[in-house]
């Protein structure tokens, strides 16, 4: 007799108690041992709800109306307690920070085993086995909050693997990782599947996941499965604007369509010369006395620059850009914003010329409605009321939140909150825009749309953004900085900086299919293009 498949979902429908519509409807899927099922879809399509049904948090922690069945190894989980399910289904959340409880790595990995009341020897052996498998045994005594993003992910995964689950559920495991760490994580998932585990992986970055040959893909939309089947069939059902497919595929599909219009980048910078807007002079900085994070940074942000800052987790990218708005003041050297030294002006003064979008939206949202949230910045800057109304409306349109004006920002999904946080800075109409990971947690179509709009806004004269997504630099930047170890490793046009593949590798960057295709055709195109435009050159 053959074993039942590790994961079967039958006619699953769930509605949260606080909602009127079901979040997922009639989902059916099966994952065999050794198989990876990729679940893709825009933010808010119901992926997270599906995951919670499988790992048992629904209906145990999140109440609502549930119908259909989830079978693990042939057993219906409905009557089982969470402790039983947690030994069969391992869950790694999108943000490992939300999952890690232990102070030390070993304590974190052992946490579940301690709760099961196992013998100490068995706990240690299983914990080390999981850490060895992931290659992190040397981290055992480290403090979890000092780890890099990639390390945290592996620690969270080790904590789950130590419980010996037969099904692994991963929620956007690549979202916060630099490209090389993402590649490592994917390779590990492949190895786990090859070892017989059934893996369900939710991920926006479809292109990256394809590298580890998932068995099948499910494409979700509005809580329903629009497609479930072989990877090759995905391109037949989805539009290449919706999901990030490999560049070759987009090129093939986009040939049929007329070439997209070229972006009118930073129209405000077209008149006048290349004025220096932000200048870093020999900037040195450290959070503690004994450890310097930035070493002798010299950098000028000019009018007309669209700068992408790339670099590994923990390279000092955020520390660097926080200096631009004066949230951090250099310990050595100085930073000038429009000629004024940030040592002598307040952050609020800088904010009138330089808008800064933080990485995490949840640290800034407070107002009862989206509209009021967006009006907060311009009001602080003393804009007149009628102008504020206009600025708010425009910002809402750019980030695709029309119809949500009266909604409380805190009740929106993470992706939507992130867009509110971007809009709240856009409404301030500063001359310079700085964004820290603007596309994290955003689906492809949404971030493409708002990035297109932001670059064409009439107010900005220069834009700078931090990203782990090389394609964002390829598509939007006219200047790329690679930062590593608190230094600027290189600074130049994307065509210069991204052509040096060994250097990319040294800085934990992995060339994407779009970059490779662009490099191949550079002599013909003259500069990097997005795939839809590239289609009409080749």
């Amino acid at each position: 007799m053959t074993n039942p498949p590790p994961l079967v979902v039958e006619n699953l429908t769930f509605r949260y108690r606080s909602r009127t519509e079901p979040s997922i409807e009639n989902i059916n899927l099966t994952v065999q041992a050794g198989e990876i099922l990729l679940v893709a879809g825009a933010s808010g399509c119901g992926k997270t709800t599906l995951m919670r049904c499988i790992n048992g948090l629904i209906p145990r922690s999140y109440k609502g109306e549930l119908s259909g069945r989830v079978l693990i190894n042939g057993e219906d989980i409905a009557p089982l307690p969470l402790v039983k399910i947690s030994q069969m289904v391992g869950t790694v959340l999108q943000d490992p920070e939300r999952q890690i409880l232990g102070t030390r790595v070993l304590a974190e990995v052992a946490f579940g085993l301690e709760n099961l009341g196992l013998e100490r020897e068995e706990i240690l052996s299983r914990a080390y086995q999981a850490m060895d498998f992931l290659g992190i045994s040397d981290l055992a005594e480290r403090e979890t909050f000092n780890l890099s993003g990639g390390e945290k992910q592996k620690v969270a995964l080790a904590g789950v693997l130590a419980m010996h689950p037969s099904v692994l559920v991963l929620d956007e495991p690549l979202a916060s990782l630099d490209p090389a760490s993402a590649q490592d994580a994917l390779a590990l998932v492949r190895r786990l599947a090859d070892g017989g585990m059934a893996v369900l992986m939710v991920e926006h970055r479809v292109e990256d996941v394809l590298a580890i040959r998932p068995g099948r893909v499910m494409y979700m939309e509005n809580g329903k499965a629009r497609y479930l089947g072989a990877i090759s069939g995905l391109e037949q059902v989805v539009d290449y604007h919706e999901v990030k497919l490999p560049a070759e595929v987009i090129v093939r599909m986009a040939r049929k369509d007329p070439p997209p219009a070229e972006l009118d980048v930073l129209p405000a910078s077209k008149q006048g010369g290349r004025e220096a807007l932000v200048v870093f002079e020999d900037v040195e900085f450290g959070y503690d006395r004994d450890r310097e994070v930035l070493h002798g940074i010299n950098l000028t942000l000019n009018r007309g620059d669209v700068v992408a800052i790339l670099g590994p987790n923990g390279a000092g990218k955020t520390t660097l850009v926080k200096h631009a708005i004066g949230l951090l003041k250099p310990k050595g050297g100085r930073v000038l914003v429009e000629g004024r030294d940030t040592h002598y002006i307040s952050v609020a003064q800088v904010a009138s010329t330089l808008g800064y979008v933080f990485q995490s939206p949840s640290h800034m949202l407070f107002a009862p409605t989206v509209e009021e949230e967006l009006a907060f910045g311009p009001t602080n800057l003393g804009h007149p009321a009628d102008e504020i109304a206009l600025e708010v409306r425009e910002a809402i349109e750019i980030v695709n939140l029309v119809g949500r004006e009266k909604d409380p920002p805190l009740a929106l999904s993470f992706g939507q909150q992130k867009r509110v946080s971007i809009a709240s800075i856009l409404a301030m109409r500063s001359r310079i825009l700085v964004m820290d990971e603007p596309t994290a947690g955003q689906d492809y179509q949404n971030y493409r749309n708002f990035m297109d709009s932001i670059l064409q806004l009439p107010s900005f004269e220069a834009i700078l953004f931090i990203t782990h997504d090389i394609d964002l630099a390829v598509m939007y930047a006219n200047r790329v900085l690679i930062v590593n170890g608190g230094r600027v490793i290189c600074d130049g046009t994307p065509e210069e900086t991204l052509a040096d593949l060994p250097r990319l590798e040294q800085n934990r960057l992995v060339p994407t299919s779009l970059l490779q295709l662009n490099l191949k055709w550079l002599s013909k195109t003259g500069r990097f293009q997005r795939a839809e435009r590239l289609a009409h050159y080749i």
Partner: protein, 288 residues
């Protein structure tokens, strides 16, 4: 994610003891200090606290902020006590005047007057010494106790699994809250918000603090939901738990616990004998 206090191994006196032994000693110290109002007795506790601070090997630059904040707070309130004699009336019935400072003007017929009495002076001094002793010992704890051992420490003190792990999380929640507050403050300053420019009445001012209070509160709630989910998914609280970390009492830990218990017993005995109550030196100042 919970962050930990700035602990590191300092090879100091406190750290040479088992954390459970230190917590027991610390509790005895607190209870004993609170039994006395006589500044001569309190000086003993004050000296003990100072010795511990100097033996803690924590650099001044590390704890400067904590000291300035708590120290400023204590000095301010001791000074208020000195000016008003607030709270002291329960300990003395008569006041003896050292000096009377009178303002050379009147406000609506009331002439501001400061009566400096020996009782108020000594009451404020006792208060200062008492609170400073307690504060000094308390400040050291987050810097000296290994966060990795919080859970097993409370478990080892006899608390049930769930409460011990809850205490572990709570201890780490405080610095996490601080970090979130800083992040929120930064994010709002980048939107032109200036806390220095709060205007209006009390109600209006509290309203204008919403951009800070709301995100920090929501973050704390969302963060605790995440923690609950993460604990549920890893089978927390289903039965008796194994604690991977182990603590063992050594000779010096037993001595410290014995010393702590002796301290509280002697203090209690002295207190029962009526010793250590509020005291002022012999004097010939007139009754006020």
């Amino acid at each position: 994610m919970l962050v930990a206090w700035r602990y590191r191994d300092r090879n100091s006196l406190i750290q040479s003891f088992d954390p459970r032994a230190w917590i027991i000693f610390f509790t005895c110290f607190l209870a004993s200090t609170l039994l006395f109002w006589d500044v001569r007795y309190l000086l003993f506790f004050f000296l003990l606290a100072l010795l511990t601070v100097f033996a803690s090997r924590i650099g001044w630059h590390e704890m400067k902020r904590a000291w300035l904040f708590i120290g400023g707070f204590i000095l301010f309130f001791s000074f208020l006590t000195f000016l008003t004699g607030r709270g002291g009336m329960e300990l003395y019935t008569q006041e003896h005047l050292i000096a009377r400072l009178q303002a050379g003007f009147k406000i609506f017929g009331w002439q501001p007057t400061l009566n400096i009495t020996i009782e108020r002076t000594f009451y404020a001094l006792s208060m200062l010494v008492r609170v400073f002793s307690i504060a000094s010992m308390t400040i050291l704890i987050p810097y000296s106790l290994n966060p990795a051992l919080y859970g097993i420490t409370f478990k080892g003190l006899g608390l049930p699994d769930k409460i011990a792990y809850g205490m572990d999380l709570t201890m780490r929640f405080i610095p996490t809250f601080g970090r979130d507050f800083t992040l929120t403050m930064d994010a709002q300053r980048a939107r032109g918000y200036e806390i220095e420019k709060l205007k209006g009445g009390l109600f209006a001012q509290v309203r204008k603090l919403a951009p800070l209070i709301v995100p920090v509160t929501i973050h704390a709630i969302a963060g605790s939901e995440d923690i609950i989910d993460a604990m549920d998914l890893r089978a927390f609280g289903v039965g008796k738990r194994t604690w991977l970390q182990q603590l063992t009492y050594r000779r010096r830990d037993r001595i410290l616990i014995a010393a702590g218990i002796a301290m509280i017993m002697i203090s209690a005995a002295l207190s029962l004998l009526g010793l250590g109550v509020f005291w002022v030196p012999a004097h010939s100042f007139p009754v006020m």
